[in-house]
């Protein structure tokens, strides 16, 4: 199942809520892609120390070669949000001076975190660069662990919409344009609102914010274009989503909702991986009478069966058994590449 998904797409985006094993799963699939002979890049988000050392990643934003499998190679890189956003500003600025005005603004640091959904947008921007510039046959993107997986999808639209918004227009004074009636109203309102804001926040803040928006304005066209390109990348045939969830009621419900949303927006969901599935075949008959082991076993069976209905309905809405993998919850520790390999085997043999 996973091999076909890898072969049929250039970009695989691993999406899902936090705590479902996205980072480990995406690294394991990256390993498989390299095993199949492809030059593969795994873009990871804030992985835990163990995974960092297992993959040999030492510095943020450095692409590291993790392993070789004959012709195939596995590379990995951690995404450094700050530098990705700085690079982005530079790449969409017409010249260095324009870029510096933005980068030097005292509010830029916090603004660049809030702006456009931060991690979500910069992961996409990093992906975009990897696709356009870096010559990998396969790119695996691990997404940020948002509370709601949909945050990720909204990122490009948020940035695009920002340059369309009235708030932006408050601060930009365009000399020489003939304001229509609505704009006139706005300008009057702007003065009143600014007065309120000054009372609330103090003058420096407003000045810095105004300056920031004025400097951003020069970039607005390029930013719009970039957002559109990123959006196209997400929707293209060479990109697919892999939905990752786990055998937990809340997470299964989230995955279902996210799945519907992906379909609604026309994104391709190639596969769903459900981690932490019950690892045993249900056995019949009574063994150890009233034993603790049997008691715990029966309790766990009930617990999983409870959630199995949810998992099955997610699977059925998702193309059935051909496209959904239940990965058993077998205890293991991720200390090095060989253990990542164990995870990979479970996914391949699913």
């Amino acid at each position: 199942m996973i091999d076909e998904v890898i072969k049929n797409h250039q970009v695989l985006i691993f999406a899902g809520t936090g705590g479902v094993g996205k980072t480990t799963t995406s690294a394991a699939v990256g390993m498989r892609a390299a095993e199949l002979g492809f030059k593969t890049l795994v873009l990871t988000i804030d992985p835990a120390r163990r995974l960092v050392s297992a993959l040999g990643l030492k510095e943020l934003n450095q692409t590291t070669k993790v392993a070789e499998f004959g012709k195939g190679e596995m590379f990995a890189s951690m995404i450094d949000y700050k530098s990705v956003f700085d690079d982005f500003v530079r790449s969409v600025s017409s010249n260095e001076k324009v870029a510096e005005r933005v980068l030097r603004n005292p509010l830029y640091k916090q603004l660049s975190t809030n702006l456009a959904g931060s991690q979500e947008y910069t992961s996409l921007e990093r992906l975009y660069r990897a696709v356009e510039e870096e010559g990998f046959e396969k790119i695996i993107l691990d997404t940020p662990p948002s509370q709601h997986a949909v945050d990720f999808l909204k990122a490009p639209q948020k940035i695009y919409a920002l340059f369309d918004s009235s708030i932006f227009k408050w601060f930009i004074s365009k000399g020489g344009n003939d304001p229509n009636f609505v704009q006139k109203l706005f300008q009057k309102g702007t003065r009143m609102a600014l007065k309120q804001l000054e009372v609330l926040t103090g003058t420096d803040f407003i000045e810095n914010l105004a300056d920031f928006f004025e400097s951003i304005e020069e970039l607005s066209q390029s930013i719009r274009e970039r957002s559109a390109s990123v959006q196209n990348l997400l929707s293209s045939k060479r990109t697919a989503f892999v939905l990752v969830t786990s055998f937990d009621e809340t997470k299964l419900e989230e995955a279902s909702g996210f799945n519907s949303l992906l379909k609604k927006y026309g994104y391709r969901v190639a596969m769903t991986i459900v981690n932490r599935a019950f690892p045993f075949q249900k056995e019949s008959g009574v063994r150890v009478e009233r034993g603790e082991i049997e008691r715990l076993y029966n309790q766990l069976v009930t617990y999983y069966e409870d959630r199995l209905e949810l998992a099955k309905s997610l699977r059925d809405s998702q193309g059935g058994e051909r496209a959904t993998l239940f990965v058993p919850d077998l205890p293991f520790e991720l200390n090095d590449l060989s253990e990542l390999g164990i995870m990979k085997e479970r996914i391949v043999n699913g």
């Binding site: 120390r49 603004l111 103090g202 420096d204 056995e283 715990l296």
Partner: protein, 311 residues
């Protein structure tokens, strides 16, 4: 300031702390644990507000209560629940401060305000913390509860939330928000105002993140946050038996092996946390078919019995 030293350390668990912030790695079950604490305090007779910081409500589904929103709704005796997003908190603040709801509505409504919150640095955080501490600071609409339990964001986001007021101070020196941000910075470090709970799972990666988070949170709050284990598989008894069965080639021997391994991992995870704080409560994985308030109350039982016990 208490510098984290060694395993002699116990967490700041002041009975007086008005606000309990619950956080942890994404997916460890913060929301359920926060609900459990709220049930515990309500059961002790304290007027309690359970608050989730969320753009979209989790508790509406968890408690099957569609009415949960910005204004608190009652879930039972002594227990109210609310869902706060930063835009509503800011509106609350501005309307109260400005006292001109007409003007507010005209120029700050909806689309425009939410954009502004998105781009203004720290405004989102200050709005949430401002609302949360408004009872203690005696400003704004009434918020007099004995206890407020917060289902906060996950680790990184909670850190930036708590750090925002002090970093904001530099950008906003004057005005009510400047003063407010200084007051909030002080309160965050005051054990009579705030206490912190970090939720982990009995597994390697969540424990690593919990330990890192504990260090960062201690630094920011100058307090020692409590650590606790969620979804602890109640397998100790079964494990003792499992060791025999594993070897016997019995039909359940594969399962027995699973139980033994799980137990080893759980114990290792617990030992790592115990190096930070002596007392680590553990909330068992609830295997019965319980939901919502019943589930939270069941989890609260183990909070009471464990936290009272000698570690």
């Amino acid at each position: 300031m208490q510098t984290p030293r060694s395993s002699e350390q116990t967490a700041n668990e002041s009975q007086d702390a008005r606000i309990t912030m619950v956080s942890g790695k994404g997916g460890v079950g913060k929301s359920a644990v926060a609900a459990a604490y709220a049930c515990r305090y309500a059961g002790e007779g304290k007027r309690t507000l359970l608050v989730e910081f969320a753009e979209e409500s989790f508790y509406r589904r968890f408690f099957s209560e569609g009415a949960i929103g910005f204004e608190p709704v009652s879930l039972g005796p002594n227990l109210d629940v609310a869902s706060w997003d930063s835009e509503s908190c800011l509106r609350d603040y501005v309307v109260h401060l400005v006292k001109l709801e007409r003007i507010y509505k005209l120029f700050f409504e909806n689309r425009v305000m939410s954009r502004f919150i998105e781009v203004a640095p720290g405004l989102r955080e200050l709005s949430l913390l401002g609302k949360l501490t408004s009872g203690i600071r005696k400003v704004g609409p009434k918020l007099d509860y004995d206890k407020i339990v917060v289902d906060s964001f996950s680790t990184g986001h909670t850190l930036s939330l708590l750090r925002a007021p002090s970093s904001l101070n530099q950008a906003i020196q004057k005005g009510p928000m400047g003063v407010q941000s200084r007051d909030i910075t002080t309160l965050i470090r005051d054990p009579k105002a705030f206490e912190y709970k970090i939720v982990s799972l009995p597994e390697d990666l969540p424990v690593s993140e919990a330990i890192e988070f504990h260090s960062a949170l201690s630094e920011t709050t100058k307090q020692n946050p409590a650590l606790l284990m969620n979804k602890w598989l109640p397998s100790e008894k079964a494990s003792a038996q499992a060791i025999e069965i594993e070897k016997s080639g019995h039909e359940l021997s594969v399962f027995a092996q699973y139980v033994v391994q799980k137990n080893v991992i759980q114990t290792q995870a617990m030992n790592r946390l115990k190096k930070i704080n002596r007392n680590i409560p553990s909330v068992p994985l609830v295997l019965e078919k319980l939901r919502g308030l019943e589930l939270a109350n069941k989890m609260a039982e183990s909070l009471v019995s464990i936290e009272r016990g000698v570690d």
